[in-house]
Amino acid sequence: MNHQLLHIFRNSPLGRETLLQSIYFSKQVEVTPVIYIPKSTKFLMYFENDVVQIDLDNSYLMSPDTALEHATELLEQAGVEPRFLDPKHYTASTLPDIHTNFDYMSCPRSISDLSSKIGLGYIGGRVRRIVKSAQFPVLITSPVYKEWESIAVFFGGSVNAFNALKLGFRICRISGMPLDVFTLVENNSQESYEKLIKDENLETEMSRYVNTWHFLRNKALEENLYDVPHNALVVLGAYGHHLLKTFVFGSKMEKIQSTISNNLLIVGPNYTAAI
């Protein structure tokens, strides 16, 4: 209905790749992309229990006169009606408030630091805070525009992972792309994971949506990741079972994000999935 994706536009070639990716994602998942062209480097996002100040790096303010044009052009080329966000409230004259009732948000791996740090293994601090507080999943785009053609969900059995799984079902249903589930079988057995699914009454959905459920048996997670298709949208939860789970991202998640360069759709703890 009124599902929206927030995208903060950087008027640079790198920003163009990110915007193209957001547009493709929006079309597949049937949401409307809403573009924010920043006029100042800072803005505030007030979540339910946290206020995050986003300090964009200066490349976001590059060539402001052509920003609107470029963004509109890309959107119209893709056949999407251009919608721009105009902040209505300001905490201070240079500090606009961006509202947070979106359904998705897309950002590159880092929004506060220079583009040079957009390599693997790095997810900026701001992005992490957004994932932690937001009620929407965050799409972390790959550096180059690549149309994904399948969905890969990493399922580890935690509450977060269930949300990621349900989100995967939902995207599979709306976009029609094939869905694969990957589980790292370390010390537990395959049956224990299947039992978890059964306990949550998700067996029918599993059989309906999931193409193959891969059980990765190699002890080291990194070595298994070659099995993930290069053009898949990877959906995963940010946190795991760890005791400090609300402070740091799960260890597996860190490994995954530092090994593969696919688009990542990360689900935070405040997201409640509906299939």
Partner: protein
């Protein structure tokens, strides 16, 4: 009973986002824990009573929905029967002989009915034009009847009913219902039939019961289709 947040919103007759907002602002005694919500039904009820907010469990609301099943023309007409060659030169005698012949009523109620029908005629004629009249008591008869009755009475000869188009009436349909709602419902369906001129011509031939009821059934089917 463990309710979901949607059910709570329904009970309070509020939108789900309103309830979620009040939880976030701390105005309703429900706490949010990660993915779920913590609350006790009794605390909620007390809170709702304090603000005079309605807190109705929807199942109870649904049970009131047992509407009176509105009957259709065919069964009412079958109950009332079809009478032919009713004698009478004017309104009163025609009505009297019609009422005498009606199958379902006792002697006393027939007398009462006759009086009621006359009263109604005196207010305005029930001749609705094209030779059809629909005598009926002005107020419904909830005690005398359990189900509506329509008696079809073909008159021996056409009489002046004071109808709207001044044409003489050749058939009377006596409508008896136990509530105004049913009466209006039947009347509305009946008028659909009468609007069709070919039906009126058909009536002029004084058809037998079977073909008459078949025709009525046809019209009912059309009406049902239009309504869905």
């Amino acid at each position: 009973m463990k309710m979901t947040i949607h059910e709570v919103a329904q009970c309070l007759n509020l939108h789900v986002s309103t309830v979620e907002r009040w939880i976030r602002q701390g105005r309703i005694p429900i706490q949010k824990t990660g993915n779920g919500y913590l609350f006790s039904e009794s605390a909620l009820k007390k809170w709702a009573a304090m603000y005079r907010l309605p807190f109705l469990i929807p199942e109870k609301v649904k049970s009131r929905g047992y509407e009176e099943r509105l009957e259709n023309l065919l069964s009412a007409m079958k109950r009332g029967g079809v009478m032919y060659d009713i004698k009478g030169d004017d309104v009163e005698t025609a009505l009297k002989s019609a009422v005498e012949n009606m199958p379902v009523l006792s002697k006393t109620s027939k007398k009462e009915l006759y009086q009621l029908l006359l009263e109604r005629e005196r207010l305005t004629s029930t001749g609705i034009g094209k030779g059809v009249a629909i005598p009926h008591p002005r107020d419904p008869l909830p005690d005398a009847l359990k189900s509506p009755v329509i008696s079809t009475c073909f008159l021996e000869k056409s009489i002046d009913f004071g109808a709207v188009d001044d044409k003489p009436v050749f058939v009377m349909f006596i409508f008896l219902s136990q509530s105004i709602k049913i009466h209006l419902h039947l009347l509305s369906r009946f008028s659909f039939c009468v609007r069709d001129n070919s039906f009126v011509e058909f009536l002029k031939t004084s058809p037998d019961e079977a073909s008459f009821f078949a025709k009525i059934a046809d019209f009912e089917k059309q009406l049902d289709r239009a309504e869905t």
